[in-house]
Symmetry: D2
Subunit: 109 residues, 4 copies
């Protein structure tokens, strides 16, 4: 497995973990109503990251298409999380999302 592929799988798995953890944390917050948009975004982002990791691990013929979608969703999810960065979990999750977006963009070229 080449380095960039390994790096991209790693970024996707880390972003998946960050998003699922942040999803859980958001659902435990008092202001969950305010976080509805974030919760919605996190589920989708976690799931596309898992999908991307799977695709790369199994040498799917559609890695580029999936990493393209993953890059866009991670970027958008990072923006959503950033709006709620007074919650430490959202702030940290935004960083994972942006990092994953960046690596997936390269994979999608």
């Amino acid at each position: 497995m080449n380095m960039s592929l390994e790096e991209c799988i790693k970024a996707c798995l880390e972003c998946m973990e960050a998003c699922n953890g942040c999803y859980d944390a958001c659902l435990k917050e008092e202001d969950v109503k305010m976080l509805a948009e974030c919760i919605r975004s996190l589920r989708e982002c976690a799931d596309i990251c898992a999908f991307s990791a799977k695709s790369m691990q199994s040498d799917s013929p559609y890695v580029k298409q999936i990493c393209q979608a993953c890059a866009e969703i991670c970027q958008a999810c990072g923006d959503v999380c950033k709006k709620h960065e007074h919650h430490e979990h959202c702030k940290q999750c935004a960083e994972s999302c942006y990092k994953c977006a960046e690596v997936c963009r390269k994979m999608a070229v």
Copy 2:
């Protein structure tokens, strides 16, 4: 494809749709804080139903194990939705969950 298999796939896809719709509706309610447990349950139930459908459609060697988990999760998710049946979407979703649980239990034997 035999009748019970077709029926079980149909029940899983209907429960998946009901759970995803109820998930969306819960996130749009005013009392989303009250519904956090329900939201959490619905995501998981929708996803295991999709997983079960996929497994049956592809003649997976693990249909029984997956339908067993699906039956238990649908039953539990139905109970969670039932607690919120003053929301029409939760009430209807509980019915889909219980129906799917019943059919999956038979498949798991």
Copy 3:
């Protein structure tokens, strides 16, 4: 739910079923070695169709990005299946893939 959304969910669920069924059938063929590329493509296509359906059912903020990826993968999977259309299941699956690709393209705009 508006008509085009309902239609797109339906097309995705039908393509998911066709791909999973064709995946199973390919693995039962004698010339499975010849079908390796097809098997690989079908898994991915079935899974992105399930993902798309879920996203639309739950009013995901990322329906466009996911339907875009789904349209491209379905189109490509249709082309792969078409190469093996001497197998009736591949021929029929190609039709489901092309139909789903067409509907998802409209959703992705």
Copy 4:
């Protein structure tokens, strides 16, 4: 996050990676016909491992049910891979499956 949970997530993600890698490798082997059962098992095992990891990461109410299914599927998939252990990737994958089965069994209690 407590130690056993972290350990179980790690085992699931490692087993997911091993299964997806072995799936890819099997589809590239000459004797892919002989490996059809293994390919079928690996897809399912990789996917339930991803599902389990997601469930634990998001503190799902259904971790036990999912880890129970995951343990059974990993155990069975390990047995399938073991039959093909003349392929190094199958041999190594069996080890990841058995390890994951063991950890998931504890989580399911």
